[in-house]
């Protein structure tokens, strides 16, 4: 409890006393790993043999022609094992968990991507694993719940509060204050008490380090603008951290505009004016809260961006102007995803599609010699139910009805046997 991880006024470690020694241990393990070049090498080796690093950058030629402005490049975090950037953070924390000699990991999850990544890491490293997930998210992300359970994780649906990501985080902390001796809490984004924001951003910086090198070696220059979606802020911090010293590169973070402005309609903490500075979930940042300091409900078509707080590092970059924040609405996001599928055969997750939507708004107004880079933080396999609903695909509906009839018939005969 000495260095408390402040980024100007944001960050800190507002933790229950019982966890103070646990955070001291985590901080020590993190700082030791960071100072040890062999650790980073071990991490890079792991990610290049178990996941798909370095992930490529794809030139989106058809989208570029279609929009008629800046050249569009896409960083392919969807090609990570488990289909999202979440694997970067999780594998890094898995290595730390081993170093600390712990045998169980817990995590919160929104979209389920971080839960699946954590369950995968636990299976690989031989850890026990419990995943906390808001009941609302369990209902909308069944495919991910299925895989977590297949990998041996226990998935606990959280019914408290708004039954989404923030409530899953609270519940994970409640587990941790009981089981800290053998358990590591692998927080999934660049939020929470110090050292999580900084540590998660460090693991994710592998995205930005690669992207900068790839742009230089393949295009001979840096992009003019880079776009990333912002839930808690980990994929954005990962990509941005490669370009923080490049004044000519504009960094754009895209939040969930949901149904548009107005408290409760969105999850845009920085792009809209509804959020104020507060302290919850162990850290100080902009929260969507009422004047009493009670957290408000948020809305987004994407579970992974549907969160009341935001990385304290990004909150600081918002205030200093180092990153520009925008919001994309649910409708814009689904349209951007469909366009990307049709033009490029790429399937960005609904979360990632926020970055695409904003880039598509801006690209036509930029010169043909300008370059933009979009982070495709994940792929949308998990979103198939949500997307099929949003575009109201009749054949998908038919398929589900047929499938349901089969299950019902089977349940009836099994019931008869018993």
């Amino acid at each position: 409890m000495k260095n408390r991880g402040y980024f100007n006024q944001f960050g800190g470690a507002f933790i229950p006393e019982i966890l103070v020694p646990t955070f001291d241990q985590l901080e020590a393990a993190y700082l030791e790993a960071k100072a040890d070049p062999a650790f980073w090498q071990e991490y890079v080796n792991l990610m290049s043999t178990y996941s798909c690093r370095a992930t490529p950058i794809t030139y989106a030629e058809n989208l570029t022609k279609h929009l008629g402005g800046a050249q569009i490049y896409i960083k392919r975090e969807d090609l990570n094992h488990t289909g999202a950037h979440k694997a970067n953070n999780v594998m890094g924390q898995g290595l730390l968990t081993k170093r600390m000699g712990k045998r169980r990991v817990i995590a919160e999850t929104g979209a389920g991507q971080h839960g699946v990544a954590t369950a995968t890491m636990a299976a690989k490293f031989g850890f026990d694993c419990t995943i906390y997930m808001g009941a609302v998210d369990v209902a909308r992300q069944r495919p991910n719940v299925f895989w977590m359970e297949q990998m041996g994780a226990t998935v606990v649906p959280v019914e408290d509060g708004s039954a989404t990501l923030k409530d899953a985080i609270n519940e994970a902390f409640r587990d941790w204050v009981t089981n800290m001796d053998d358990t590591h809490y692998a927080l999934g984004t660049a939020c929470g008490p110090y050292p999580f924001p900084e540590m998660v951003a460090w693991f994710q910086s592998i995205i930005g380090i690669e992207a900068r090198e790839q742009m230089l070696s393949q295009q001979g220059r840096l992009p003019d603008r880079v776009y990333a979606c912002v839930g808690g802020g980990s994929n954005a911090m990962g990509l941005f951290s490669g370009f923080l010293d490049d004044k000519e590169v504009e960094l754009v973070g895209v939040e969930a505009g949901g149904r548009g402005k107005g408290m409760g309609e969105h999850a845009a903490r920085l792009a809209y004016d509804d959020a104020t500075v507060g302290v919850a979930q162990g850290y100080k940042t902009y929260f969507l809260q009422n004047p009493n300091g009670q957290m408000m409900d948020t809305h987004s078509v994407s579970a992974g961006l549907d969160y009341v707080g935001v990385s304290p590092i990004l909150a600081n970059y918002h205030d200093t102007g180092q990153v520009r924040f925008e919001a994309a609405t649910d409708d814009e996001v689904v349209a951007a995803m469909q366009l990307t599928v049709q033009k490029e055969g790429l399937i960005p997750a609904l979360e990632s599609s926020h970055a695409f939507a904003q880039a598509f708004k801006e690209a036509p107004n930029m010169g043909k010699d300008e370059i933009i880079l979009i982070n495709q933080s994940g792929r949308a396999d998990k979103d198939i139910f949500t997307v099929a609903d949003a575009i109201d695909d009749p054949k998908w509906r038919e398929f589900i009805i047929t499938k349901a009839d089969q299950y019902r018939a089977r349940a009836a005969t099994e019931g008869g046997v018993r």
């Binding site: 409890m1 000495k2 408390r4 800190g12 470690a13 507002f14 933790i15 229950p16 006393e17 019982i18 966890l19 103070v20 020694p21 646990t22 408290d160 509060g161 923030k166 609270n170 902390f173 409640r174 204050v177 009981t178 089981n179 800290m180 104020t276 507060g278 302290v279 919850a280 979930q281 162990g282 100080k284 809260q289 004047p291 009493n292 300091g293 009670q294 957290m295």
Partner: protein
């Protein structure tokens, strides 16, 4: 101040009792009734919890009480009004228990000065370690209110001494790891832990987390100075109604 009050009372009985309620749960009227029946049953101090939407350190019972209070329309303003009425009507000391965002959003020094004005004697803020608390600690000192901190079975001697420097009134010692409201083993290990706590502070020790019966209360006698009952009183109220809480407290003390 609280320390003197506790020492005075300890002249007459060996173990004091502190109870806890969530303001506005199930309603502000019922909160008033609960305080009245607890005070009449012989409680020595009380924690009044101001509801928060993210009570990270609380277990299922108090978590639900917070959520229900907010759903029923609890606000900071109403909680402060209710607290003022409570301190005016009853002659024991009351503390606030809440999470830091409630103070932070209101303005920390103004919040503390309001506490003083309405007759609250101290506060327990479980997500505010002293490292983050300079404004709070200064204001508390300025208004002669007691900031209470928490000893845990994980706290080293060094950490306990650090906490002791920032604490007045009494030291809240939690009986075990975990959140409020789960079972605690009241046995030898707990006795040894309390001996360690004594070595780190001269303040009275209050023991909480999982205290729920006369047997627990009797076990604590001679080891700590104050026993704390939180979730169990809420459970009794939920199972048997508000009228059952006074007799429950009475049965523990006597």
């Amino acid at each position: 101040m609280l320390e003197q009050y506790i020492q005075d009372r300890l002249q007459h009985k060996e173990l004091l009792l502190m109870t806890h309620i969530v303001l506005g749960y199930p309603s502000y009227d019922k909160s008033m009734y609960l305080v009245e029946s607890m005070v009449e049953a012989g409680v020595d101090l009380m924690e009044l919890q101001i509801p928060f939407s993210e009570p990270m350190a609380d277990g299922p019972v108090i978590l639900k009480a917070n959520a229900e209070a907010l759903k029923a329309g609890a606000t900071l303003e109403k909680s402060l009004e209710m607290a003022e009425k409570i301190t005016a009507n009853f002659d024991i000391p009351f503390l606030f228990m809440t999470y830091y965002n409630i103070l932070f959003k209101h303005g920390v020094s103004d919040f503390v000065s309001k506490m003083h004005d309405i007759g609250i004697k101290g506060a327990i803020i479980p997500d505010l370690p002293p490292e983050e608390a300079s404004e709070y600690l200064q204001s508390m000192q300025q208004h002669k209110l007691d900031p209470v901190h928490i000893f845990t079975p994980n706290s080293s001697l060094e950490r306990k001494q650090e906490l002791n420097e920032h604490t007045s009134g009494f030291m809240y010692t939690v009986a075990r790891k975990g959140v409020t409201g789960k079972d605690t083993q009241f046995g030898d290990e707990l006795g040894e832990y309390l001996v360690e706590c004594r070595q780190a502070t001269d303040l009275p020790l209050a023991l909480g987390f999982g205290v729920k019966s006369k047997a627990d209360f009797d076990f604590i006698r001679g080891k700590a100075d104050v026993a704390i009952i939180g979730s169990e009183a809420i459970r009794v109220m939920e199972d048997k109604g508000v009228e059952a809480v006074g007799p429950f407290i009475h049965s523990i003390i006597n």
